[in-house]
Amino acid sequence: MLKVTPFHPRTAPLAQGQAWRRWAGYVVASSYELLHDREYHAIRGAAALFDVSPLYKYVIGGRDAVRLLDRVVTRNVAKCRVGQVLYTPWCDADGKQIDDGTISRLTEGTFRMTAADPNLRWLHRNAAGLDVTIEDVSERTAALSLQGPNARTILQVAADFDLTGLKYFHLTSARIRSIPVTISRTGYTGDLGYEIWVDAAQAVPLWDALIAAGTPYGLTPAGMLALDVARIEAGLLLIEVDYISSHRAFIEAQKSSPFELGLGWTVALDKEQFNGKGALLGEQRRGAAWQFMGIEVDWDSLERLYAEVRLPPRLPTVAWRASVPIYADGGQVGYATSGGWSPLLKQYIALAHLESAFARPGTPVRMEITVEHRRKQAAARVAKTPFFNPERKRGGGGGGA
């Protein structure tokens, strides 16, 4: 049996089409309504509420907590201030990426780490000889993600805390209708948004409080299909889709380094020692062989390919997750791993691994598309990500409605 999250009593009755998706052994909604468009538009136009409880969560404490984390992840945890959140990947000894997630400094000596995959064993192995406590709080802590331009206004109505000062990638403890929560200004949509962490026993009242506060502002429960479109627009990668954890890869070629995934900015090579440092130093010197970039498919080209069979372009309304070849000049120069139609940008976009020589933004490439059972190539261009990066994501102050 798959598990249900602490919000299930509220989310289950909303699932009109019984469309559920698996996530880390749980079921969460793919979409609540029969089509996911309204849920998607809520992210960009009002506010969407996601149940993100299946994330793995660890609380790390003890005298050597910083040392442990700094050994594991690529970012510099010692520099992380209390109330700050770091997005970071972590690597094996060869500098190949195992996973990515966030580290929140809850107090001087305690951190919460989130991860897509289970990492308890990995943390313990790295803790050898250190004075730390590692607690898996995945089941005990429920989490909601509140994303969209109205997110701040809604949270402000519900919480007892002045959110205007809460900066991007920072967190605070607060109460929402007397329920103790932690609120972090984080998310997976590339928009203004917050994640709210709560004791699982209080999950349902938290949901009710947010829905009550948010409904006048267009708050809409949203599922993974909507989230997937938004995260592609935001250029955010997804493990097992856009890259394979080095712990799960069967061959070397399946592994990627942070440099190859566009995460070079997270690699603090000035840190004393961390997993993969040597390999990453070498890679930095040589230059990464691959880059992870955006792809914009040219509309006219798409339309022409379909016109040959007398159809209008068939566009992926649901984001796809597959390996799709990218070509340039004579041959294949990479592959896209996620893609879809951006209803906001009116553009067919994808995220792709490209050989570094072909990864400069603006480089003309071609993406394979299948038109009526036949493989064709649509003209496309390499693009910087995020495709959509609203000022409000990082911007401060104001009501924000």
Binding site: L34, L35, Y217, A401
Partner: protein, 526 residues
């Protein structure tokens, strides 16, 4: 007169703004002159009552060209189009017809009324898909002149001919029917349920002085299917922030490329020297020079008011004089303390997020037209209602709502003329009609704005209040819009162009006229 601009665009409607943005994108120095205090023309959002924002005139978008959205990067300038999901038609017997965005749901609903119609609906959709594919290239091309022997025109015509030959006999015949029949007759061939036919037919009369039984109304049915084939997916959408947000996004894109936009700057005259436009004179007396002048106003204003008649050939002036406006629509905007509660589907639900069509039967809509034919506004009008605050809550204070009611018919030439008393009587007829289906509406009204065709003309300068800068009837479309031989955005005055909805492909928030005109201007520049 020092010349600071390559081009002056008269009128900051959305087409004028699109035009300016494309010229600026090509490196031209552009000045937009708008008469009103804000840009947008018929696509504006205004806070009529404190806290309540209205798409005062146009209220939904369907055909805004996706290439414009991409070329001008409008999402980065704040544009977001939200889906308008459903259409609810309340029926006099207390029942309703609802059409949802989910196909199965719609079929099941249609089945309640007619199992045959439910099946026909799919086949009809298929045919309309083919029809939309057939006319789509027309929307995106500068109309070739069928009487011209110039290579460009011949090439354009040849391309069209080839395109239509490829349609195949069956589809070609269907297209001919669609182009000539009345929407009622066309729909009678497909469906039996009156509420369905009336609701579909109603979309064919918007902006025309015609009824569902008037020939030539069928092809407008196509508009509803166009959106589905060009990457917009949905027939109808709603701009976050109202239709004014579309204009604001385009204006921002134009400004970002160096366009200067002046509001409160009404143009009085186009300056012409030796048959060539040299600039404009503002009502203030100020004169501004430019190599090219482009008018986004309707043809009557452009040619009969801004240009001195001797500059124009007599035939052309005659054609423009005959060009038909005949405004037939009004608008009622309501600020509401609470949502309307429809007797047929009580309470708050997803049906309030879509369109609500008061079109219970073909006879109802045709009778509404009968009133107008004889110079009266419809006692029981056809209404197209949306509640934008249900889709974008920022349009109204929390918990409150705004309702936009598009009304037909309200003839411009009403018996006795429009005055304040008649305007209020018209507003009452509209509210009474809504109240028949949602009785709580009267007590929910906090504020009411009523716009007659006379008001539309006065506020926007749209002649006779025609919402499309001239009727979208076949004799005024494609290479005939606005006048034979002058459909390519050029005019008899060299250096003077037109870019408004009065040119091909016509009205609606499409931006296509503005864009195609810009392509033409840029081509001529070389």
């Amino acid at each position: 007169m020092p010349q600071r601009y390559d081009a002056i665009v008269i009128g900051g409607g959305h087409n004028g703004l699109v035009h300016a943005a494309y010229l600026a994108r090509a490196g031209k120095r552009v000045l937009v002159l708008e008469r009103r205090p804000r840009v947008g023309g018929a696509a504006v959002t205004e806070e009529i009552f404190p806290g309540f924002k209205f798409s005062v005139f146009s209220y939904v978008v369907s055909l805004l060209r996706p290439e414009i959205i991409r070329d001008l990067e409008l999402p980065r300038h704040g544009l977001e189009i939200l889906p308008l999901e459903s259409t609810l038609t309340p029926l006099p017997n207390g029942d309703y017809l609802a059409m949802w965005s989910d196909h199965d749901q719609t079929r099941r609903e249609l089945c309640r009324h007619s199992a045959r119609d439910a099946e026909a609906y799919d086949e009809f959709g298929q045919l309309m898909h083919h029809m939309a594919m057939a006319v789509k290239p027309i929307l995106g091309m500068v109309p070739p002149d069928p009487t011209s022997l110039s290579p460009g025109d011949l090439l354009g015509l040849a391309r069209l001919a080839k395109h239509f030959r490829r349609l195949g006999e069956r589809h070609f015949h269907a297209l001919c029917k669609l182009m000539t029949m009345s929407s009622a007759d066309f729909l009678d061939e497909w469906f039996e349920f009156d509420g369905l036919k009336a609701t579909k037919a109603a979309s064919g009369i918007i902006g025309t002085f015609l009824g569902p039984r008037s020939p030539g109304t069928a092809y407008v049915l196509l508009h509803h299917y166009m959106g589905e084939i060009d990457g917009a997916f949905r027939a109808w959408g709603f701009a976050k922030g109202g239709t004014g947000a579309i204009s604001e996004a385009i204006a921002a894109a134009a400004r970002a490329r160096g366009t200067e936009i002046r509001t409160d700057a009404p143009v009085a005259r186009v300056l012409v020297k030796g048959g060539r436009a040299t600039g404009v004179a503002l009502e203030s007396g100020e004169e501004v020079a430019a190599s090219v002048v482009v008018s986004g106003l309707d043809p009557r204003r452009t040619f009969l008011q801004l240009v001195e008649e001797p500059e124009l050939p007599a035939d052309f002036v005659g054609d423009i004089r005959r060009y038909k406006f005949r405004g037939s629509s009004g608008k009622v905007n309501l600020a509401l303390a609470e949502l309307p509660d429809f007797t047929c589907l009580p309470g708050v639900g997803p049906h309030l997020r879509g369109a609500i069509s008061i079109s219970p039967s073909l006879e109802y809509v045709e009778r509404a037209y009968d009133d107008a034919k004889y110079g009266e506004f419809s006692r029981r009008p056809y209404l197209d209602i949306v509640i934008p605050s249900m889709i974008d809550p920022a349009m109204a204070p929390p918990g409150k709502h705004v309702m936009s009611i598009f009304v037909q018919y309200a003839p411009y030439y009403v018996n006795g003329g429009w005055d304040d008393a008649k305007r209020e009587a018209f507003g009452d007829a509209v509210v009474d009609t809504v109240a028949q289906y949602a009785p709580n509406i009267r007590s929910a009204i906090l504020g009411r704005q009523v716009l007659t065709p006379a008001d539309i003309e006065r506020i926007l300068g749209l002649s006779e209040g025609n919402i499309f800068q001239g009727e979208l009837s076949l004799h005024q479309l494609f290479f005939l819009r606005p006048a034979p031989a002058w459909a390519k955005y050029r005019t008899p005055v060299r250096g003077l162009y037109q870019c408004g909805a009065g040119t091909h492909p016509g009205g609606g928030i499409m931006g296509a006229s503005g864009r195609l005109a810009a392509l033409q201007v840029l081509k001529d520049w070389r």
